[in-house]
């Protein structure tokens, strides 16, 4: 059973992607008494390097990198695997985490020589926890390992929500935890049923054997619903707005940009790799319908929020909705395989560009709130003078959310629209466009207020560090640059799709 081949070096990198942040968080726990960021930043930088090398190698070799833990073959053992999509996503996550970490030095830097304090220690360890969790979610090929990874994610995310310790954030964190746990347990039941039906939890093995029978349907139904709860898709979004709005800005940024994407990624995996083919049209339509409802309802709600961070949080729910439009689009697509279709590419691009844009937006919102001393949208007058770079970043990120050129969100939107038209899903096309208009509404509302004259009697804005502003701008810049990727479906995202390489 012990395979003859030796570990390929690229595979070892996958292990590093999981282990580096874990080791980092353990190290902070024991060593980081006074300066946790001194451990966290190098670890996140190394993590970024590892992720980029993996991404480049996958692109270079044109096939997925695989690693079998302990040398055990599935179904007995667990496999890590980086196909094009996974590689792109771990690189995305690593980059965002790194930039957020640079920004967060301003929030959670500890004083030199001082004794350990709560917020920095907790923040930096949990940030590394998130990194471990996300890398595992994107790389693991085993449904139960993915369950553990989801729990890692929840356990890292929830305390970040209530880092500040106020009543409201505690309440929000509790809600988040309970609902996420409800989602987890449904997922777990699904895993149990799948094991009972097929005797394996390896995604690649399941891909070959799943049948359209009762056990499989029920298992997938439970798993998808559970994951939706964690992705905060409407109408399961009860926890997200207070949680993401209550967390400190760097935490909100990673929560909104990355954490809600992980469950979506797993739904994608379940749908394309585990669900018996062809997937029923009605189920795909249901996913898209919930996505559409998310877009429309939560965009309107974002438009009506009085607070900037709540607005951004509702916008996250709306933007996550776009991702769910992918399912019927890919099914009715022109391409023989889903990952060659424009809908698939558009969905992934939407995921990535939203991640960068939303991270930038939350960080910008944090700086704006820091400078102005509040985040009431109506009283933001003068913000454009006080923190011009943050406002610019907010606007650029907003461009991506609105789907205006040349942002990445625009290309994604065009692809999704094209796929919707090709598959004659006009209602989806209409939703995409309407969502863009509503997004424009809430983004412009903020920008417009920011350029207004400051209200009389408002305290003068505080200065914020230029380096933090530039970090925010760089994320928005990436969201913008994504718009210059070539328009065709990227071959990269199809690497390693469809069973084994």
């Amino acid at each position: 059973m012990m395979p003859a081949q030796v570990a390929a070096p690229d595979g070892v990198l996958l292990i590093l992607a999981l282990m580096l942040p874990s080791i980092g968080l353990l190290a902070i726990f024991v060593l980081g008494h006074s300066r946790p960021e001194r451990i966290a930043l190098p670890v996140l930088a190394a993590n970024l390097a590892v992720a980029l090398i993996v991404a480049l190698q996958v692109g270079h070799s044109g096939q997925a990198a695989t690693y079998r833990l302990g040398g055990w073959l599935p179904p007995l053992g667990i496999t890590l695997r980086a196909d094009g999509l996974s590689a792109a996503l771990i690189a995305m996550a690593a980059l965002i985490l790194f930039v957020v970490a640079i920004y967060a030095r301003g929030n959670f830097a500890s004083k030199a020589g001082g004794s350990e304090s709560r917020q920095p220690m907790v923040f930096w360890t949990l940030l590394l926890g998130l990194s471990t969790a996300l890398n595992t979610v994107f790389l693991a090929q085993d449904l139960f390992s993915l369950f553990v990874a989801l729990e890692l994610l929840t356990f890292s995310a929830v305390p970040l929500v209530c880092l500040e310790g106020s009543r409201e954030t505690l309440r929000a964190a509790l809600r988040y935890l309970l609902f996420a746990l409800a989602g987890s347990v449904l997922y777990l039941i699904g895993v149990a049923l799948l094991y009972g039906a097929y005797g394996t939890l390896d995604i690649a093995s399941l891909h070959q054997v799943t049948r359209a029978d009762r056990a499989t349907s029920i298992a997938l139904g439970l798993m998808i619903a559970g994951l939706m709860a964690k992705a905060a898709l409407f109408p399961l979004h009860l926890w997200l707005p207070p949680a993401h709005a209550g967390a400190p800005a760097p935490a909100s940024a990673v929560l909104s940009a990355l954490v809600v994407k992980a469950p979506f990624f797993l739904i994608l995996r379940l749908w394309f790799d585990v669900a018996p083919q062809p997937q029923p049209v009605i189920a795909g339509t249901m996913l898209a319908a919930l996505g559409a409802a998310s877009i429309l309802v939560c965009s309107v709600l974002a438009l009506r929020q009085a607070r900037l961070k709540l607005m951004v949080a509702y916008s996250t729910v709306a933007q996550v909705g776009y991702l769910f439009l992918v399912f019927p689009l890919v099914m009715g697509s022109e391409a023989a395989v889903p990952w060659a279709s424009i809908g698939w590419t558009g969905g992934v691009l939407q995921l990535v560009s939203h991640a960068f844009a939303k991270a930038s937006m939350f960080l910008a919102a944090g700086l704006i709130a820091e400078a102005m001393g509040h985040d009431r949208i109506d009283d933001l007058g003068g913000a454009a003078e006080a923190v011009p770079i943050s406002i610019a970043a907010f606007a650029l990120a907003g461009l991506s959310l609105m789907g205006l050129p040349p942002a990445g969100g625009f290309v994604a939107k065009v692809m999704l629209l094209t796929a919707a038209v090709v598959s004659a899903n006009w209602w989806i096309a209409a939703t995409i466009l309407a969502g863009g208009l509503l997004a424009a509404g809430y983004v412009f509302r903020v920008i417009g207020r920011a350029f207004a004259d400051p209200a009389g009697g408002a305290p003068p804005p505080k200065a914020v560090a230029r380096s933090r502003e530039l970090a925010v701008l760089s994320l928005a810049g990436v969201a913008l640059l994504l718009g210059f990727l070539p328009l065709q479906p990227f071959a990269y995202l199809g690497i390693g799709q469809g069973g084994m390489p």
Binding site: A229, F234, P280
Partner: protein, 539 residues
């Protein structure tokens, strides 16, 4: 990579580069004095680089610039007006706060609007179009009054709506060609045989019509054009609306001969032409009347295009462009002139008002002016039927509206009894006015294919004059009963939409209530199970 190609590219690169340079505060503060120079390369390109082109990036992006006759004609006019208006702005806005910001928006709008005339591929067109229409928001809402804010909001909302229509139309168009970013003409050539022809055409007309101000999508114009600073109004009313015109020219399958669709567009255009006159004559603000006049004229342009599409007549685009060029220069000159009149004492005004009279009546087709030339050139497209009669009658309407405008202009109160117009604003106005008189004469023959002598035939002269006379008579009647006319608010039907606002608000509140209900724990967790069960059943 030819010299002409580089010249065309510089037409786009220079204004963009200047706007980027405004990142430096020092540059930004001084930019207003230099914005007149931004469109110069484009002007040169229009004059010397006709027929040239350049591919700016390789496959699969294929961002392509090309300058055909239609594009060159509009580009030249637009560049001239941009430059003149920029020069005008430097004097007009001197010493006002926020000129740096103004310059940035100006340069971006300028780059986008010039871009629409030069690009040949769909993505670039969309980019240029979006940049022009979104940056114009900065010009519309430059003044910080409540009126400007409302106008800006309405403008933005409708501009985005238009973008949405256009985007969907483009997506449909691009489907017909197997490459990611097709050239416009490739995509349009494939359109008539597409099963999605109907939605594509409807979306195109909606999207570009919104920009042009075809009724009832014109509502933003009478709000937005008057509130901008004078040079910006000139650019908005003269040039930015042409982004819609060039859009229709480029994207409608004009030579495919689609009588039904063409007829529809003619009807829409003519309706707009008359409707705008009817509303325009009730207005009491000079700039608002001009804005309605733009709406009316754009209706005529749309009708020209529609007639051409119905007949499948070659050269339609060129004729429409000729008409658009005439309107571009005249309307620009009129807006700039209004600024001069407003800023000078009555005794300094006489000459200017006189010149303005000629310009204004040019829009109605005063013989020997650009208007007469444009109308004459476009006439054959309409044939002899009802449409032709209505098109001619539209000149009556224009006369009426312009006389109303002249009367308001004459009565404009002067801010300072001794103020004389400054050279800095007089000169650019004079250049544009002159250009509007001269340029069409130069272009008439190549565009229309008639000899200039034809214009002096008695029949042609009479055809141009009788609507003016009829308009004059009606105008006298109007001035008699003028005060009794109902005062239609600016933006007319938008006010009706305003009555829907409480309904929109109520819907928003209801959604909030529903959201609050859904975010209750028992409801949300029950939903979770409902979703699980539904998916189990569906899968």
């Amino acid at each position: 990579m030819t010299a002409s190609g580089l010249l065309i590219a510089s037409g786009l690169a220079v204004p963009l580069g200047m706007s980027l340079a405004c990142f430096w505060p020092g540059v930004r503060e001084r930019a207003l004095g230099w914005i007149w120079a931004a469109p110069i390369p484009a002007l040169l390109a229009a004059l010397f680089a006709r027929g040239g082109g350049i591919v700016m990036s390789p496959e699969p992006l294929r961002l392509t610039l090309a300058l055909d006759d239609v594009g060159a004609m509009l580009l030249g006019g637009a560049a001239l007006l941009w430059s003149a208006a920029g020069f005008y702005a430097a004097t007009y806005l001197r010493g006002q706060p926020g000129t740096g910001r103004f310059a940035v928006w100006w340069l971006l709008t300028l780059a986008g609007s010039l871009g629409t005339f030069m690009v040949a591929d769909m993505t670039s067109f969309y980019l240029a179009f979006s940049v022009a229409s979104l940056s114009a928001y900065g010009l519309v809402s430059f003044e910080t009054t409540a009126r400007a804010k409302r106008a800006g909001d309405v403008y933005m909302a409708l501009a985005l709506l238009g973008e949405a229509f256009i985007l969907l139309a483009f997506v449909i168009l691009a489907l017909g060609v197997p490459i990611g970013n097709p050239l416009i003409r490739e995509a349009v050539a494939a359109l008539p045989s597409s099963p999605l022809l109907a939605p594509a055409l409807i979306l195109l007309v909606l999207g570009f019509g919104l920009k042009m101000g075809l009724a009832p999508l014109h509502v933003w114009m009478p709000l937005a054009h008057p509130v901008a600073p004078m040079p910006a109004s000139a650019a908005l009313s003269g040039i930015i609306v042409k982004a819609g015109v060039i859009g229709l020219m480029r994207f409608l399958p004009l030579d495919a001969g689609l009588p039904g669709w063409g007829g529809g567009l003619v009807a829409l255009g003519l309706f707009t032409a008359f409707y705008a006159v009817a509303v325009g004559i009730t207005q009491q603000q000079v700039k608002t009347v001009l804005a309605y006049s733009t709406v009316s004229q754009m209706g005529v342009v749309a009708a020209v295009l529609g007639a051409g599409m119905a007949a499948g007549a070659p050269g339609t685009a060129l004729l429409a462009a000729f008409y658009a060029l005439h309107h571009l220069l005249v309307k620009g000159a009129l807006f700039l002139g209004v600024g001069i009149v407003a800023g000078s004492a009555p005794r300094h005004r006489i000459l200017i008002v006189l010149a303005m009279g000629v310009l204004a009546l040019s829009l109605a087709g005063l013989p020997l002016t650009s208007g007469a030339l444009a109308k004459y050139a476009a006439k054959p497209l309409f044939g002899d039927g009802l449409a032709a009669a209505l098109a001619t009658l539209s000149a009556v309407g224009s006369t009426l509206l312009m006389l109303h405008f002249l009367r308001l202009l004459r009565e404009m109160p002067a801010a300072d009894p001794d103020a004389a117009p400054e050279a800095g604003i007089l000169l650019p106005w004079a250049i544009v006015a002159l250009a509007s008189l001269v340029m069409p004469w130069i272009l008439f023959q190549p565009v229309a294919g008639y000899a200039l002598a034809d214009l002096f035939e008695a029949k042609a002269l009479w055809t141009a004059i009788w609507p003016l006379l009829l308009g004059g008579v009606l105008a006298i009647a109007l001035f008699r009963i003028g005060r009794a006319l109902p005062q239609v608010p600016e933006g007319d039907v938008i006010v009706l939409a305003g009555t829907l606002w409480p309904l929109v608000q109520a819907t928003g509140r209801q959604i909030e209530t529903a959201d609050r209900w859904l975010r209750q724990w028992p409801v949300a967790s029950a939903m979770l199970i409902v979703i699980a069960i539904s998916f189990a059943l569906a899968l």
